[in-house]
Structures are given as structure tokens and as C-alpha cells.
């Protein structure tokens, strides 16, 4: 994200200029100017610490990252990984004799997106959205490390999916209320994409269409959802969703 365009609802623009770890949509590491390639072992360590969000005991990190070997062997693998860190990865880590953490000046995209999600989930009169930018929707549109299949990733990814889904619905409602229908629709669509079988994102998307006066789009969205629900679960949408449509005609 270009720091000059960072919306106030998201990251501190100053923090966007420094080194940054990305775990949303895939792993990435940047020193603030260019992307830096990180070997697989250090990637896993940095990603684990980024997902934990706080200092972690070395024994815990070793046990989670090398679950199939003895405690001694896992500790040895961790020491070996730390010893072989290249300069970029080393600068991102705060290492003590007993703990590991992401170093203080490093930002993590997930941390910023979670902060945004928390603000959207609660009272947020002070949250200002840059309507010319899709930064907020983008920040809430990606899963955590989608191609990683380790338990410590999958469990966190599932929890994040639910949090971002609620945040996207709240964002869509806010933007619709302010008349920013394009961004509102994008937020609702991202929520639908995150969980196609859930009804509340569909309702959010239909409300945007109806608020814009696009009744036919709302009807189409309802029909798409109805067909999906029938095919996947053999069920009909709730009367509440039908009523939303009826109320808009």
C-alpha cells in the first residue's frame, strides 16, 4: 500500500514505510522498499510469530513448528534455523535466550487488518473511510496463508475468516449508509466470497442493490443464493431474506 494513500481507518502511514511481513493472501517480506526473498524455514518462523502476535517461548515455537520430532530435536532445528537466518529475516526477529517475537518496528498486514476489523465490529464513529480507495475492502478480503496446510495456520485462518466476514458486512453497511454504493457493494461481495453459503453477506449485498434502486440486481442475487442453497444443502433462503426482497419491490 502506498503510504501517502493509507486511509485513516487502516494503518498509520508512517508505519507503512518500514519493514513489513505479509501473511494475508500469501507470505511476503519487504524492507519497506523492495520485496525480499526468505527461505522456507525462516518463513515458517516469521509467519508463526506474526500469527501469535506476541512473544513466544522458544520451546513452544520449536514444538509447534517441528511437531513430529523429539523436543531436543525440535529445539535443535529451531537453533539451526535461527543460525542460518539471512539479514532480512534476522532484522525482523527479536530473539532472547527464552523468547522469540517479531521485532518492534516491523509491521504485519494481519495486525493492521485485525485492528480495522475490531474497529468496525464496535462503535466506530471516528472511523473515516477513504471512499476513493479500496484499501479497507482489500485489507479484509484475503485469507491467512491460503496455501499453507499446518494446524497452527488453519485454525487461525478459520477464525480470521469469520472476523473479516463480520467486518466486511459492517463496512458495507457503513458505506451504504453514506451513499458510497460502489465500495459498499465491493465489501459485501468480498463477504459473500468469504462464505458463499452464509445468508447475512447476501443480505448485505442485496441491501446495497436495493438502496441504489437496482431491484433487478437484488432479485438476481437472491436467485443465485437460492440456487446455491438448494444445490448444496437442499434448503430455501429464510423468509427474512425473501422479505428483504419483497420490501424493496
Amino acid at each position: 500500500m502506498d503510504a501517502r494513500n493509507a486511509p485513516s481507518g487502516l494503518a498509520d502511514p508512517e508505519s507503512s514505510r518500514g519493514a513489513r511481513i505479509s501473511v494475508l493472501g500469501g507470505f511476503g517480506f519487504s524492507d519497506g522498499r523492495v520485496d525480499i526473498a526468505i527461505a522456507e524455514g525462516p518463513q515458517r518462523l516469521l509467519a508463526f510469530l506474526a500469527l501469535r502476535k506476541r512473544p513466544v517461548r522458544r520451546t513452544l515455537a520449536a514444538g509447534v513448528l517441528w511437531p513430529d520430532v523429539s523436543q531436543e530435536r525440535a529445539a535443535s532445528s529451531l537453533r539451526s534455523t535461527l543460525a542460518r537466518l539471512d539479514e532480512g529475516a534476522r532484522s525482523a526477529l527479536a530473539v532472547t535466550a527464552s523468547q522469540l517475537a517479531i521485532a518492534d518496528p516491523i509491521t504485519v498486514d494481519l495486525w493492521e487488518s485485525e485492528a480495522l476489523a475490531r474497529r468496525l465490529a464496535g462503535p466506530h464513529e471516528s472511523l473515516t473511510i477513504d471512499r476513493s480507495s479500496s484499501a479497507e475492502v482489500d485489507a479484509l478480503s484475503s485469507d491467512i496463508l491460503p496455501d499453507w496446510y499446518e494446524d497452527w495456520v488453519i485454525v487461525e485462518a478459520e477464525a480470521w475468516r469469520v472476523r473479516r466476514l463480520h467486518a466486511l458486512e459492517a463496512l458495507s453497511d457503513d458505506l451504504r449508509g453514506e451513499g458510497s454504493f460502489g465500495q459498499s457493494s465491493s465489501a459485501a461481495q468480498a463477504a459473500v466470497d468469504a462464505d458463499p453459503l452464509r445468508e447475512s453477506p447476501r443480505a448485505a449485498l442485496m441491501r446495497v442493490h436495493l438502496a441504489e434502486g437496482n431491484v433487478s440486481d437484488a432479485i438476481r442475487e437472491f436467485a443465485r443464493y437460492r440456487e446455491l442453497l438448494k444445490r448444496e444443502l437442499g434448503l430455501e433462503p429464510t423468509p427474512r431474506l425473501q422479505a428483504l426482497l419483497d420490501g424493496g419491490r
Binding site: Y149, I154, V155, E158, D195, L197, E236, R240
Partner: protein
């Protein structure tokens, strides 16, 4: 040393109020975390969910019993 397989099953549950079958259970499962990919399905019936969990556990045990011949 034979590598020990680790399976994982995650159940995400929500309620669609007003639906004739309000329970939704999104299940994500793999029998071996070291392999890429996982199966996902969504169920609405408690007995079906229990049956799916039972099948997962029994299959995991069976895979272990035959020495871990591949299963994804």
C-alpha cells in the same frame, strides 16, 4: 524413523435464524497435514455431523493401523 501423520478437523458452526434447518456446520478436514489440500463440506444435520466426525476418527485410526499408507 517413520513419520507420524497428523490429521486435522475444524468445525465452524453458525445458526441461520429463521431457516427450517438453522444449524450450519462447515467442516474442513485432512488426514495428513503434511500433504497439501483438504476436504470441505457444509452440513445442517447434527446426526450427519456426528457421523462425519466418527468416520474421520475411524479412518484416522485405520490409516494408523496399516502403517500410514498414503491417504489425503
Amino acid at each position: 524413523m517413520t513419520r507420524q501423520k497428523t490429521g486435522l478437523m475444524v468445525l465452524r458452526v453458525w445458526i441461520e435464524e429463521g431457516s427450517t434447518e438453522p444449524l450450519r456446520v462447515d467442516i474442513r478436514q485432512t488426514y495428513d497435514l503434511s500433504r497439501t489440500g483438504h476436504a470441505t463440506l457444509t452440513l445442517t444435520d447434527v446426526d450427519l455431523v456426528l457421523s462425519t466426525v466418527r468416520t474421520f476418527l475411524e479412518t484416522s485410526r485405520a490409516i494408523g493401523a496399516v502403517g500410514g499408507n498414503g491417504h489425503g
